[in-house]
Symmetry: C3
Subunit: 395 residues, 3 copies
């Protein structure tokens, strides 16, 4: 079937599945011709061209009914990046225990699979979340009910070897709760709240490396319009996230907000505490009428009513979406550690040929910049727009 | 069966296959004891020993009848090297659309799988093709008929991250056409022609890195008898390739020719335009009588009439092959950018135990050298011969 | 079933299996707070935290009845590490031929799979074996009878690219013989002897790099209490290993001894020949009564009589084990090349929930140190203890 290779023992106590995904991208930028890094004469430019954004294989399965595992690796850029790698115990009613590398419980957008997202890349809000609450090695306890979910997890660092020398790992504790007061197939209200506290280690390492908040114009561009640079002397990070989404037939609307407080060690007088925030709001319309899906606090892509077929003259499903997002990396305390403020408009057109194949076109328009990380050669504000295409195969 | 793991839905609209290959090599060189890099006193030597030449796994399949995908990774040398990684649409009669990382359409020898080659390594001609028309990310449109094939493709760079900093990717357009005026199982004439135009990016990057043409005595030797070094200031590359092959029962004979023109940016007076050429001719005889196979412009290895079996006293198939190849990396314009000229004789004995296992023995004799990249300590011309063995398992 | 995905052709001439393992660890050290590297003021510390110790996938199978292959890769630390990668011929009665990357024939402990070990890490004796007789590319001929086994192999280097420049690979020849005078399911005596001779290449490379003997307090700690540093100017290495083990119902007892002689090139007067030795003794008791398993000179983990199940109120199998090990890296010839001497006590409690899932807790106590590689800030001897936990899923 369309779910890759699946096996099941007769009593269903043992299951095994192999899956994979290919995301093949192309991107083109305008307004990036005469840029320099802020305060320098170093040429900056959004690299245009082609890229394999994701190339993943995954194996997952169930042993002795109550024990699940999942392993997922990405081989894009010819390097190994371990994504999910965990063991799960589901033998206790109402609770799931998950040990290993997994996404920490924070942000609806971050929890959503890249196969399911409305847009090719996550919003500007992800500049705060990716370095802090993405995958790490830890233990999560969750309860997933029909209308609400709750999770608490404790975490060390990621699977990647430590960025710097000799020191015990840092650790984090986080929690996410969601509630769906209306929860029908074509009518849904989703609300969520999450918190995260992370203690950095003696060498100032966050989960996957140093703390640096920034946003790239496209995954392959190597151009970051806002960028805090490495934030030194960090003692701890606290975060709060709020989520609200609604679905009504072929329409969805929603948004999220994240606030981050960075506590410094105050070893250096200039290193004061910092706070950052970011948010987005988005809306989508399935032109062909299908509804997006929702289950246990997560959204999933729609399934076309009719698959694309030249022979049958059917065209799959078409979806239109828009998003406005803002990230404020200016902490307001002096000029140091001010990474810039930015707002971005994204418009997306998605074509679902069937449950396996999807094509995506995204247009990103930079709306407003305040102390950006790059400037025009003449010293003005950059005005970079990006057009991106994706062919996606996922099973 | 011998094709690894294969699954098929009842209506054959969904298929999935896992395959893999192990090429385990050993190589020994003579005449490499007292060498230095040309114009230096740096010791040069052909490293002898053992190597896993290729260790690949692949997953491929079909979704909804018309959509194919292929993914193939090589893990030899303990690093990830993505080979094929593409999505294919076959739902339109007479045309195939392939998007993702794939071999560009140029050279019969390059298109042939390493599982099928008559010799352990490709000819000296590959010194021109490997850096330019091997795999890249792009879109290919092909038509594959019984007696002829035609392909046109546009390409960016490879999946590997760019070698150097800030710049849009380069691009290429290429095309290959083949025709088989005689096309029977044991009688065949194959003719082919191909062209390639590649525009380098602002940083002088070809598909996978800088432009450097060279040939190694064996894949593990680290000894390059001819070598242009990095060719700087390149603006564009044009290539033409010609192919002719014949098959008659257990015999094959054939050859190819490639010509390359390198257009410089002429920013530096000494950087004049260059041209290089290379060719080979080869012949093979299956002692046990089997014929090699041909399909849609590509050759495939033979299938033994009887598999090797000690119990049954059967010995599989045996094949003898010889090849003469030449590469002229001397452009003739001044002494700079002259990489040397070389001719090489290769004799091969191949033992096919069954459709999965093959053993190969190759002997490479350097015939003639002109301005080679290495010299003997006394200043003379090197005379390096190489003996190589391979155990191959592929499914 | 619990062996991952298995397929078999009707005549059993073709088989294919996919397997994998996840070892997720956490470790905590005491007594490591005020350490420096010996003779320096550089801070040393045992890194505590979480780690994916092993994340492996494997494909293995049989073609045409007589031809086996195995491939196994580890992706922990987000890098590729090829483990087994070989082709095997089993068509000749009483003999097995194995070509490719495989463990060299030396030491019962090294041959044992990490899925089966009584303890989370191998003993101090492995400081001698891991750099020399672990996996390499070669050809092994073995005979595996019910009560005895014999193997002889010749090897080049490992699959990893050479550590240093231009030189032919080194090579090794080794052999291991085992005999079980008593060989019943619950009553067993195992005896073994092995020898290894390795010739280093011109650049002083052992199989996988330079010769350096050392022992880490846990795999993620980056703290080595004994460490020879790089041993320069080595010409050849000779090793002898002795093994003795007994099993009686739920009890096992055993030990091994390895002696290593390092022959120097004597190019430098101070580089005299060296000899090192190490050994361990261990005992285990399965509280729930199961016996560990033995086959063809190797031990395997027990299989629980009853699997863990909350519903059935069954608890799987529990195992208690202790080990005393010593490594003497002081060669006794002058102070150079003296890596230190160490003895270590390990106590382990293992919980087998079923044939796939196992949890392990290990406590390592450093007993005695002589010229260790680290010292306390005050110049005293370190006293580092380590507590480790593992969740293991293997199929």
């Amino acid at each position: 079937g369309n779910k890759g290779v699946e096996f099941e023992s007769a009593d269903k106590d043992f299951k095994f599945r192999m899956g994979g995904r290919i995301h093949a991208d192309a991107s083109y930028s305008s307004g990036d011709d005469n840029l320099v890094n802020r305060g320098t004469t170093t040429h900056a430019e959004a690299n245009d061209g082609t890229e394999i954004r994701r190339a993943r294989i995954e194996m997952l399965g169930t042993f002795y009914k109550d024990w699940d595992f999942k392993s997922q690796w990405d081989f894009a850029d010819n390097s190994v990046s371990t994504k999910d790698l965990f063991i799960q115990y589901t033998g206790l009613k109402d609770f799931e225990f998950t040990a290993g590398q997994q996404k920490q419980a924070f942000s609806r957008e971050l929890q959503e699979s890249s196969n399911d997202m409305l847009f090719m890349e996550r919003s500007l809000m992800n500049a705060l979340n990716e370095p802090t609450v993405d995958r790490a090695i830890g233990l999560n306890v969750g309860s997933f009910q029909k209308d609400w979910t709750g999770q608490v997890g404790i975490y060390g660092d990621t699977i990647a070897p430590p960025a710097t020398g000799v020191a015990d790992e840092g650790w984090a504790i986080n929690s996410r709760w969601t509630y769906a007061p209306i929860n029908e197939k074509t009518k849904l209200i989703h609300l969520g709240i999450a918190g995260n506290h992370r203690n950095l280690n003696a060498n100032n390492d966050v989960a996957g490396g140093v703390l640096r908040l920034r946003s790239e114009t496209s995954h392959m561009s190597n151009l970051f319009l806002i960028d805090t640079g490495t934030i030194a002397g960090v003692d701890a990070i606290d975060m709060v996230g709020l989520e609200a989404n609604g679905l009504y037939g072929p329409f969805t609307i929603g948004g999220e907000y994240t606030k981050m407080w960075v506590e410094r060690k105050n070893a250096v007088a200039s290193q004061s505490n910092l706070d950052y925030s970011a948010w987005y709001t988005e809306a989508s319309w399935t032109i062909t009428g299908e509804s997006r899906k929702y289950k246990k606090g997560k959204f999933y892509k729609l399934s076309p009513k009719q698959n694309f077929s030249l022979k049958n003259g059917t065209w799959g499903a078409w979806e239109l979406a828009g998003r406005y997002s803002e990230a404020d990396l200016n902490s307001g305390v002096g000029t140091a550690d001010n990474g810039g403020q930015m707002s971005l408009l994204t418009v997306a057109l998605n074509w679902y040929l069937n449950d396996t194949i999807r094509f995506m076109a995204d247009y990103n328009k930079t709306l407003d910049l305040n102390r950006p990380a790059v400037a025009t050669v003449g010293g003005g504000e950059p005005n970079v727009d990006t057009f991106m295409l994706r062919g996606q195969l996922a099973f």
